[in-house]
């Protein structure tokens, strides 16, 4: 009988939070299609606790050649597991690691990874998967049309991980056949570039600036707003890419994750990579000239217009209001 297989990710002996979200998404899919759900994991994570409803069986995939992550090793190991289990669906968390090997894994089966899924409807005969296009300006629904396994990765924060802990699942070990020659890349130990001196996660108010600021010479207008508010300055990736602000002020999937009391997004359109880093903020204010910018989908308050007029007016109004 066919099944849904969810691939969990472990880091430093812990299963990542987004893996539990992928598990929840996979449960929704499996329940809607009336299929059993299994999970798999490479790595030495402690598996005595499953967050949420447990899978039928947890396959722990182990081999000396899998101790360090490589795309080659993970692709080959999971290829063998999938050939063994023959699932109808393979669900993965959309992490940097998954996006490095999952497209190759899908290709081994002449399949395509449906990446970055933010919603799913388990309708039969073919479920509908929703992902974003054009930096979040459109939603698109996709369907899988072949007989082979359907691969999908789920975006961080799109599915709520079930909170309660449950009994351990049945655990079965799976040992793939791997040869050293199959691993063509040599990874070294991960490192952090420099000590982070700015901890954006503790700031109560963040003034965050994006592409809309146009050039570095315009930054003082947001710096003045931040000063007036007593806020820390943050930015989206392009600002840091350009070297206008240091990387440590970057919010998003490749930067810091923040949840301040107020997040002011200035000239930030709100691509998914940015949203995952800030949408936990208690109150989101967006100032953007494009009324269709995705940032307005998560904002509590929005001002549509030219930031070069609005930001100085806001700074002045705050100075006036503050005792």
């Amino acid at each position: 009988m066919s099944s849904v297989l969810v691939i969990l990710e472990s880091k430093n002996g812990e299963i990542s939070r987004i893996s539990w979200e992928a598990l929840a998404a996979a449960h929704t899919l499996a329940a809607g299609l009336g299929l059993p759900l299994d999970a798999a994991l490479i790595g030495l994570a402690s598996v005595d606790k499953i967050t949420g409803k447990p899978p039928r069986t947890l396959f722990t995939v182990d081999h000396a050649l899998l101790r360090d992550y490589t795309a080659d090793g993970f692709t080959e190991a999971y290829t063998q597991l999938i050939q063994h289990l023959k699932p109808a669906y393979v669900v993965l968390p959309h992490t940097y690691q998954v996006r490095d090997f999952a497209p190759a894994l899908a290709t081994r089966f002449n399949e395509v990874l449906i990446s970055d899924v933010i919603g799913l409807t388990p309708s039969t005969p073919s479920p509908i998967f929703v992902r974003q296009l054009l930096q979040g300006k459109l939603n698109a629904s996709y369907q899988h049309t072949s007989d082979g396994p359907c691969f999908l990765s789920v975006q961080a924060g799109a599915f709520r991980a079930d909170a309660s802990d449950a009994a351990p699942a049945a655990i079965e070990s799976f040992r793939p056949n791997l040869e050293p020659a199959q691993i063509r890349t040599q990874p070294s130990q991960p490192f952090r570039a420099s000590a982070q001196t700015v901890d954006l996660s503790t700031a109560a108010i963040l003034v965050s600036v994006g592409r809309g600021i146009k050039e570095q010479a315009n930054l003082p207008i947001v710096e003045e707003l931040a000063a007036a508010l007593g806020a820390e300055l943050a930015a989206s990736r392009p600002i840091c890419d350009n070297g206008w602000l240091p990387m440590e002020r970057q919010v998003g999937s490749s930067g810091q994750t923040v949840a301040p009391k107020v997040y002011l997004a200035i000239g930030i359109s709100g691509a998914i990579q940015h949203l995952v880093g800030m949408k936990g903020s208690q109150c989101i204010v967006a100032i953007n000239k494009d009324e269709n910018a995705p940032i307005f989908e998560v904002a509590d308050y929005g001002i549509v217009g030219d930031l070069f007029e609005i930001v100085p007016a806001l700074t002045a109004a705050i100075r006036k209001a503050k005792p």
Partner: protein, 262 residues
């Protein structure tokens, strides 16, 4: 070193979004197109490698005639020649189909290195480079910020040492043999502009045109786009209108009395 850079033409970021009559894409009338951002960084890395080690940079792109304009831009920046896979209905192919077209067209070039952007700004599938590597049977590394060393300095011999971005501000070095595919993340270098001389020269550079149908790859998608829609709002956004001063005053009032942060 022979380097192929796969590039994509995408709608400009501030393109007007109107869903077209098919309900499967946006109306492209009046839309300006540009070189996909992370592909521009991939091209930049290739040009830097060529400057350091010599060799040739070839750009490849698939799409309709208008893609020729983006190809010329890449040639004007310094690529030596180009391959244009001509297709008016690329949307019929899924990610695997497009990667098969690219792989078929570049297979015989026997390049040392194939670079492409991390993901496209339109479909954002983020997998073309990885699939091309798999189809060509060569190793890959993704999310690469920097190609740090090539050749003798690298333990693997005829290989590369690259800097890969991980999540949450972590990085990692990876060594891999050539030929290889790298997908390039934005931000490590400054992008160059085409010079006037470059633009002039680009007109004389070779653009090899291949019809997608000549490559013997049928679309045969396994994943199909069903429909596009405008997203639903996740929160109820209160839009504060009026003049800049009025909107600013309204926001300050909200921050004072509703959010209570001032």
């Amino acid at each position: 070193m022979k380097i192929i850079v796969a590039i994509k033409q995408v709608p400009e970021r501030d393109a007007r979004i109107r869903i077209d009559a098919t309900g499967k894409w946006i109306d492209l009338n009046d839309v300006e197109f540009t070189l996909n951002e992370s592909d521009a960084y991939a091209l930049e890395e290739a040009l830097l490698l060529k400057e350091a080690h010599g060799g040739e940079v070839i750009v490849i792109s698939a799409g309709p005639e208008r893609v020729g304009q983006t190809i010329r831009e890449a040639l004007a920046k310094g690529a030596d020649r180009a391959i244009h896979i001509e297709s008016d209905d690329l949307a019929q192919y899924d990610a695997l189909g497009v990667a098969r077209l690219l792989a078929a067209a570049i297979k015989d070039e026997a390049a040392d290195l194939i670079l492409t952007g991390l993901q496209s700004d339109d479909l954002g599938l983020g997998q073309t480079g990885v699939i091309v590597a798999e189809l060509l049977g060569v190793p890959h590394a993704s999310l690469i910020l920097k190609i740090e060393a090539t050749g003798n300095g690298v333990a693997t011999g005829n290989g590369l040492k690259v800097l890969r971005e991980l999540e949450d501000g972590w990085f990692q070095h990876i060594e891999l043999p050539m030929p290889a595919v790298l997908t390039i993340q934005s931000g490590n270098t400054k992008l160059r502009y085409a010079t006037l001389m470059g633009i002039k020269k680009a007109k004389t550079k070779e653009v090899k045109r291949i019809a997608a149908s000549e490559l013997g790859i049928t679309p045969a998608p396994v994943v199909t786009l069903h429909q596009v829609t405008l997203p639903n709002k996740q929160r109820t956004t209160q839009i504060l209108s009026g003049t800049p001063a009025e909107a600013a005053a309204a926001l300050v009032e909200k921050l004072q009395f509703e959010v209570r942060v001032l």
